[in-house]
Symmetry: C2
Subunit: 352 residues, 2 copies
């Protein structure tokens, strides 16, 4: 078996909890085999939050040099072009320099994984307003990584998957107002989501993924009484997916389909994943039992990318009490998915 390539973990927004949870995951042993992409001063400041004496940081030139870091030292690659003085930024305050630095780390990590130097990318939280203040026109990681994967050609279609131990949800729309999201629920968007979701689930080890499709309207439109998107858009896309051999079912009433898919030892899920039309239809149930275990996976990219399912938590940044559980889960998930790409034996969750 060949030596495992490292995972790249970006530090996220320097004013948020990102650097702190990265250090904490490392100290807790959850980031073994990971190389952090970030600013040395920012990481040092974060290390002091986690341990009174800090944590040694080993700056290396590339992910392949991970073994040069002494035991107990956090391996760090530093992208060129980071703004100076980042470690002096104020905790919990939107700062254009932090936005620019976060974006540089993402670019650097994406280039590294695309060059084959790393097995996957795990991203700590960024702040959309800081990105915007830095003049970066992406509402989030997903859109930015999609553009970075385009190589100047057409961007690959990507979708956000949120997963925890019980439930996996793939979203048709994400960072749009609800009004614009409804407009974006098209036949093509739903069918594309079903194709991406099915391919991803198979790659993750589910031999015959059972995919439930949630409707858009209350009671999935109640036969057209409460909206016609189910009849006009969603059902035809489900039928087209079925014709392609995808086991897609629905559209089902949004308020009960997640409960039906929930998979626990005492309640076997009826489906392997649920396709949801809107950000909050999908994320409310994934997060309901607590965000600690939730992981965000970007499907459709030419590389594995995961992240925690929470944000920069500006309200507790710098206080030393951020929880690294979701980042650690994201690292575990990335490791499994990246390994699976080579070995093809990994299974997703408890699904058969």
């Amino acid at each position: 078996m060949m030596a495992r390539r490292p995972l790249l973990v970006t530090m996220g927004d320097a004013a948020g909890i990102g650097p702190e949870i990265v250090v904490r995951a490392f100290v807790e042993g959850a980031a073994k085999g990971c190389v952090v992409v970030g600013d040395p001063g920012v990481m040092q400041r974060a290390a002091a939050l986690v341990r009174p004496l800090g944590v040694p940081i080993a700056v290396i030139d590339s992910p392949g040099e991970i073994d040069l870091a002494p035991p107990g030292a956090l391996p760090l690659v530093v992208p060129s072009g980071l703004p100076p003085g980042l470690a002096a930024c104020r905790w919990g305050v939107v700062d254009a320099a932090c936005g620019a630095a976060a974006a540089r780390c993402i670019e650097h990590a994406a280039a590294g994984v695309r060059a084959g130097e790393a097995a996957a990318v795990v991203t700590a939280p960024i702040h959309k307003e800081a990105l915007a203040a830095a003049g970066i026109g992406y509402p989030g990681h997903t859109e930015m990584l999609q553009a970075l994967a385009a190589d100047g050609g057409p961007a690959p279609p990507v979708r956000m998957m949120l997963a925890n131990d019980e439930l996996r949800v793939v979203l048709v729309t994400i960072h749009l107002s609800l009004r614009r999201a409804i407009d974006a629920v098209t036949y093509d968007a739903v069918l594309q989501t079903l194709r991406i979701a099915d391919a991803a689930a198979r790659r993750f080890g589910v031999a015959a993924p059972r995919i439930a499709v949630a409707g858009l309207n209350p009671h999935a439109g109640e036969g057209g009484l409460f909206g016609d998107e189910e009849q006009r858009v969603i059902a035809p896309a489900v039928a087209a997916a079925c014709a392609e051999g995808i086991d897609a079912r629905g559209p089902f009433a949004p308020d009960t389909v997640f409960m039906r898919a929930r998979d626990t030892p005492s309640h076997r899920g009826e489906f392997d994943l649920v396709v949801a039309m809107t950000h909050d239809h999908g994320l409310i149930p994934v997060k309901y039992l607590g965000v600690e275990s939730g992981v965000n996976v970007t499907l459709g990219l030419p590389f594995v990318r995961t992240s925690p399912d929470h944000g920069t938590a500006f309200d507790i940044a710098g206080l030393g009490r951020a929880d690294a559980a979701s980042l650690s889960a994201a690292i575990r998930m990335a490791r499994r998915l990246a390994a699976e790409r080579a070995l093809e034996v990994i299974r997703l969750g408890r699904s058969p």
Copy 2:
């Protein structure tokens, strides 16, 4: 202490699981002190599903005669004007006669509780298409009861509350397409919901209700990037409610506010109830852990009305395996709320 008045339980749609779960709740002891409003033949057919030898049914003239029913017999009042031959209707099939009968039972129960003959109304599930086939223009119980409470005057503003042991949600909009629901999220609608929710929670025994308001858009609009309803409509309504002395907070991101409000022994909720803008934002989390314990309460009516939070389940109607847990929970909740109206000592859930 005066003798308790009975609760009225409507049979629901005769082709669905309503009559069966009513009998089952009675047999399981959960419907003590309840009088059923329905058709004798339909209730007899349902009783045969629950017990091989059926269950004796005692037809009485009014709820006040409940004590005339022999021990073990299900007390039943029969509204005038029920269509003939209802007990021959086919299980699981939309039938105008069943829709008309279900509506008659609701009217009869509403009249009884308004006349002071009963303490509360609990409704078994009806089928919207059967109602429509009978020419009854209400999309559901809530709207019909609202009209019945109007006495020809203006209808009282009512709101749907869904409650289980962990979470209580009050909805600004219910049976509308998502597109029309967005239009219906107005300053007046949100403020009215906050007033109704606050008054209801106080009447239910929460001395100083902490009300969280969920946003409409992803991340509650992310400062206007993903929609402006939060800034334009919801935040001003929250501010107006606060000015009236209501402890309303938000709008918060819809994907995390329900998790924050979730109240369990190991996770104390930050709020006593959540106001949600759309049907599915509110119902997805209430139902996620299973519909068995969920109860629907109509707030704003001049009487107590609860129902189970599931539908007619046409797919399993007539099979004798419907679960009465949610109806039993609805009966318990109605009994508590009705008693509280007299005694003012009942507390809702675990909230302080």
